[in-house]
Symmetry: C2
Subunit: 489 residues, 2 copies
Amino acid sequence: MSPFGPLSAVASHPIHLPTALSTDRLDRYWATSGPLRYWYGTALVTDPILAALQTFADQHNIIPTFLSLFGDNRLNTTENRAASHIWFRNNNRRNEWFPQVAEFCAQIHQSQAYDTVIQIGIGGSELGPRAAYHAIKRWAIKNGQVHMKAKFIANLDSDDARLIVSKVDLRRTLIIVVSKSGGTLETTENLTLVSDLAIEQGIDPAQFRKQLIVVTTQGSKLDLSDQFGHSFYLDEGIGGRFSVTSAVGALVLGLCFGAEPVSAFLDGACDIDALSQDPNILNNIPLLSALLGVWDRTILGFPTRAVIPYCEGLRFLPAHLQQLECESCGKQVTSEGLPIDYSTSPMVFGHTGTQAQHSFFQNLHQGTDTIPVEFVGVLRGQLDDTVQPDLVASWVGQISALALGRHHDDSRKHCPGNRPSTLIILETLTPHSLGSLVAYYENRTIFQGLLWGINPFDQEGVELGKLLYQQVRAGESGFPADLFSRIIG
Amino acid sequence: MSPFGPLSAVASHPIHLPTALSTDRLDRYWATSGPLRYWYGTALVTDPILAALQTFADQHNIIPTFLSLFGDNRLNTTENRAASHIWFRNNNRRNEWFPQVAEFCAQIHQSQAYDTVIQIGIGGSELGPRAAYHAIKRWAIKNGQVHMKAKFIANLDSDDARLIVSKVDLRRTLIIVVSKSGGTLETTENLTLVSDLAIEQGIDPAQFRKQLIVVTTQGSKLDLSDQFGHSFYLDEGIGGRFSVTSAVGALVLGLCFGAEPVSAFLDGACDIDALSQDPNILNNIPLLSALLGVWDRTILGFPTRAVIPYCEGLRFLPAHLQQLECESCGKQVTSEGLPIDYSTSPMVFGHTGTQAQHSFFQNLHQGTDTIPVEFVGVLRGQLDDTVQPDLVASWVGQISALALGRHHDDSRKHCPGNRPSTLIILETLTPHSLGSLVAYYENRTIFQGLLWGINPFDQEGVELGKLLYQQVRAGESGFPADLFSRIIG
């Protein structure tokens, strides 16, 4: 029997939002965790369904398992190692690495030798740090805390690195090279390319080497102190998509904005880590949100999930969440390797509002699939820190339109309604509240993985593509090489 | 009976890619249209299925309907007007508007008074032009054809405009304001904000007015010649998401790169318009691709579709396609308003490769849903215009991994394979080939709308959200206002 049988049973009493929306739901379907407020009155759940979700979470030992993330553990069963990103950002272990980052940033700022930092990395070494950098940038401008600007190079397409390098003064640029294994093709190729371009510009190679900083694991292929001016390490149990609160994110953010905002960012994450320990799902936003996600995906069968931040500073958040959620939970066997007969990760996508309203929202309102939406609303701007009522009214209007729909005699203008959404509200977007928002999505993702019985910390599906790439480049025979030769000619 | 009955019949003979991939498919499953090459050997089709798709297209009068787009028509039945973007970019009508754009750009370049252009617009007024701007930028740098740089302001969140304005010298900046109706909230608000910021900087309002250019329809709320230094018009039959080859895209591109590359961009689109008239689906890439999309979505039931350009210059293409495809085909009634019982637009999403490989590709390889992928491969770089074999091998590796899968004794490393993809190849990304690529996606989208029997030119689903926004702002009673007051307090 599917572990989701008990949940499927309560699904036989569905809710119809256009008739069910009430003052009661407006008053009661709220939860608060730190700087985050969560409203789920337009989720397709009722009190009995919430009670069943609580029972389901209790029966699957979700909180005890989550608690093991605060110390040594073997939750990444596939690779037989710990998932350690939470452990290393909380206070007992943060002291082992963050002071060095803070001190290095202070030295660089004091030297006034650099105005730019380029981070070379891909996947979690790019997406999380890039999202956080843009989310803090306007706050830092407003508060006079911009020390350096950051650029990111990720793509194997050399057009990425070449344009970025052409825009900066390499003599005044630090290069952070981020690769956990030290063997990431894109990152080593881009390091070589940027170094070649520096030499072309007449920069002395020995001097340029001092500008190179590596963030990797101890003993990796890039743990070569003679080739870098400085080395920072992360624990091997910190997965790329969970690494923004390690040196992978903290170093570039600290160089740009100073160590203090980065401390606040980490504290914001730790606040949510603490609040995520509450077994009562109505007090634990990440767990409640994870359960609603499982409800939408596995019980109601919705194949996708949109995340729409109504905040220009969060422009790069959806791309980060796409990796975080899809790479963690896009699995089809349990953590023990047993086949499963239910749906796991939806395809997550998103774009900032209000832009998304003028783009794919047509498909949300009148398409043939139901696409649950998570709205992320920020009440105050960063550069102009007053409340933006027009912006708030925009997402309120969209939540309402999706839920209520509209009868129209012209069927082409008819909107069916009953389309679910959830809402995360931040009063302001600061380093602290950003840390909370990031940890909310991380912990929500881990909870979903545990609820689905899968290992959210491995990513075995991406290995085969790398292997076949190598076969092509080695000139081996078979379909990949044949296709390659048809294309390259 | 569903119109798709005859197609469902051939679906009872499915293909299994790991066993079916053959030299025959490598040799024959190619099509060429202008600068585009298309390989569909890893689509889930066979010769009999292709024959059925040909019959289906023939029976639904797809080509005769498409041909009407080259002249006056009433294809946008909901709004009882023409769909005219193809008509106006082809030669007979291009002469009515493009020479003015070209002349204006030449005058501006000659004056040397400006180094930046800011385009204020949202939806199609932002996404298509932004995608095209970034796709041409590196080509123009390489070819010494950069006259001005462009920035785009779209969001109602004032943090968007404020950051952009802080980065430019407003005295040397032209502002293009794009709104077809002239009443788009975001655009009029951002125009006001930017004008206020100019006054704050001490710029004379009368002088600043001369720097404002409007692109709108004749007689719209923004057709106010005394408030703008210059006005350009587009036909009311040109929908926002199809407007990048009108003045909406041509003006900003012409100011940045000169009129000649824009001519080439339009010519590239017209080449595909001509080739899209071929009734033989094996010679008509947009039609074939549309049919394969309908096959994946409506017959095989796949709810999403990924587009992955392996080219840094195409970074903003997926966001444009998300609007183009989802706003055009996210409908649940026919163009006559009759209910339909089959699936229309999938949820389209994407990101550049190789970044996407290190992000959500896990979900493509081992997730519980099949997610068809369109790979867009560009053989040569723009800044370094040599062939990039590592990059080509990367997408060949991914296509192979999705199709072939891999048996592994550890089920956590097992990849099921048989996951479909298609491939568009460009030798180089130039203004001309970009125009062809854009028109390929436009015509593909129109074909899909016609195949589904829907009107791909309206977007009635987005109106309700605007209406409820207005109710909130007007303080009217009801659920939206109640939710708003719970949030704003």
